[in-house]
């Protein structure tokens, strides 16, 4: 089957998406596929999306994928739901390292219930790709043991691009959910979509059910806050850029009456035009605005 896929790719001028869900590639097929994609001919195709859901990919297949991912600059979306790889410590480390060295923006590992905390604790602890925007971890057997690693990840700059996180259908208890939400409240202003549905048993007491409802309401408030802030930051960054361009791309002069202001004062003045931006954000916008090479 894998050789047939390779033949089809070879016969086409350009292939950008590989949607191979439910294709029973197994480890052997994955190895053939990724060996080809790593070859000179395979690399001619700028593959941006790979879906390998329910292919029964095991550890050997995942290792082959890691070799392909390492340093890959074209792949953006990677979906590996419902496969057979295990939480082998060395393999987790290799996989995380490969993700960190790639430009993957969307990673789906959902429905790999065999992985559990043994995979996700080291994975989340070492995950630091600045590109990752969407992480789907539904039904992967997460328990309260993974929550500290998860909290550490979403609280740190390692997750600075992450806007979407799915944690549905895991086994995260209410107390851990509360800790997670508190961490989002205090430290995370990027997530705009976060799902925590079906993390409870079906025979909940009315009181426990009300707790979950309260959690859902709380997370919706946090996500609304983040969405509002991200829109505000975007709007103010553009506003600042509009004002900063003519000021910072010019040359300050000593007029007959007006004194020449140093660049740091000009930047400080401009920062008052966008009060929602942090100093670091202002500095980044002003650096960009004052760089002629960024003009379109």
């Amino acid at each position: 089957g894998a050789q047939r896929v390779v033949d089809i790719i070879t016969s086409r001028a350009q292939v950008t998406s590989l949607l191979l869900n439910h294709s029973a590639l197994h480890d052997d097929g994955c190895e053939v596929l990724f060996e080809f994609l790593c070859s000179e001919i395979g690399r001619r195709h700028n593959i941006m999306e790979i879906h390998l859901g329910s292919t029964q990919m095991g550890d050997r297949g995942l290792r082959a994928l890691c070799r392909y991912l390492n340093g890959n600059t074209t792949l953006l979306n990677l979906a590996l739901p419902n496969n057979a790889f295990t939480n082998n410590t060395e393999l987790v480390s290799t996989f995380t390292d490969a993700i960190n060295k790639s430009r993957v923006c969307m990673l789906a590992l959902s429905s790999n219930s065999q992985l559990t905390d043994g995979f996700f604790i080291p994975f989340l602890s070492a995950l630091m790709t600045p590109q990752l925007q969407c992480l789907l971890l539904a039904a992967v057997g997460l328990t309260e043991l993974s929550v500290p690693a998860l909290i550490d990840y979403i609280s740190s700059p390692r997750s600075r691009a992450l806007t979407e996180l799915s944690l549905n259908s895991n086994n995260i208890p209410h107390t851990s959910v509360v800790q997670f939400l508190e961490a989002v409240r205090k430290h995370n202003y990027r997530l705009t979509r976060c799902e925590l549905y079906a993390n409870f048993e079906s025979n909940l007491t009315p009181e426990a059910r009300e707790h979950w409802r309260a959690d859902q309401r709380f997370i919706q408030k946090l996500l609304s806050r983040n969405l509002l802030l991200s829109r505000q930051v975007h709007r103010e960054a553009v506003w600042l850029l509009k004002h900063a361009r003519p000021v910072l791309l010019g040359r300050t002069v000593d007029g007959s009456n007006s004194p020449r202001l140093p660049i740091e004062l000009l930047v400080h003045i401009l920062s008052y035009l966008s009060p929602s931006l942090s100093e670091a954000q202002c500095a980044r916008v002003c650096n960009y605005a004052g760089d002629r090479s960024t003009l379109p």
Partner: protein, 173 residues
């Protein structure tokens, strides 16, 4: 760097609870001011520390006019004894200065004067005054055209006529 000249003790009578400093403006006006008042300026504080190390009193020459210097002294006098977070060297950077009603009235001056005050405050390292001036100037340029902003801030167009007509430079407007 400021020029420091030695002065006689009689020029600076600094024997009270708050010693006196002699500040000399660029138009050669000598202004005597209490050290306490100017302690908000980190630049002046560092100079005073230097005097104590050498056990000699000096006049501090400043590169701005007496008119501007008097405005800065007026600001420092008003906030004498006040704690302003922006001026605390040990506090974490507070970000942008808050709006203070008195500052708004104090800075109700013409554009050139405002630019001179912010430059002097920057030189003297009075962060609260720099912040208040920056806020006032930002309000002046908000929503202005490219030319108006450049005029207010004393910025000259740095594009050649050829660049001015290229698609890239139009993005600055």
């Amino acid at each position: 760097m400021p020029t420091i000249v030695s002065v006689d003790d009689s020029t600076v009578p600094g024997e009270g609870s708050s010693r006196l400093l002699l500040l000399v403006s660029s138009d050669n006006k000598h202004i005597v001011v209490e050290e306490d008042i100017m302690s908000r300026s980190r630049f002046i504080s560092k100079q005073v520390e230097g005097f104590e190390a050498t056990s000699q009193r000096h006049a501090i020459l400043l590169p701005f006019s007496s008119f501007v210097l008097n405005k800065v002294i007026e600001y420092c006098s008003h906030y004498r004894g006040y704690y302003l977070l922006e001026d605390d060297p040990d506090a974490a950077p507070p970000g942008r200065s808050p709006v203070r009603e008195w500052d708004q009235e104090f800075l109700d001056v013409d554009r050139n004067m405002l630019l001179r005050i912010i430059k002097a405050a920057h030189y003297l390292e009075i962060k609260s005054l720099v912040g208040s001036c920056a806020r006032a100037i930002a309000d002046m340029i908000r929503g202005k055209t490219t030319e108006e902003m450049r005029e207010i801030l004393g910025v000259e167009n740095d594009f050649t006529p050829e660049e001015e007509h290229s698609p890239s430079s139009k993005c600055t407007g």
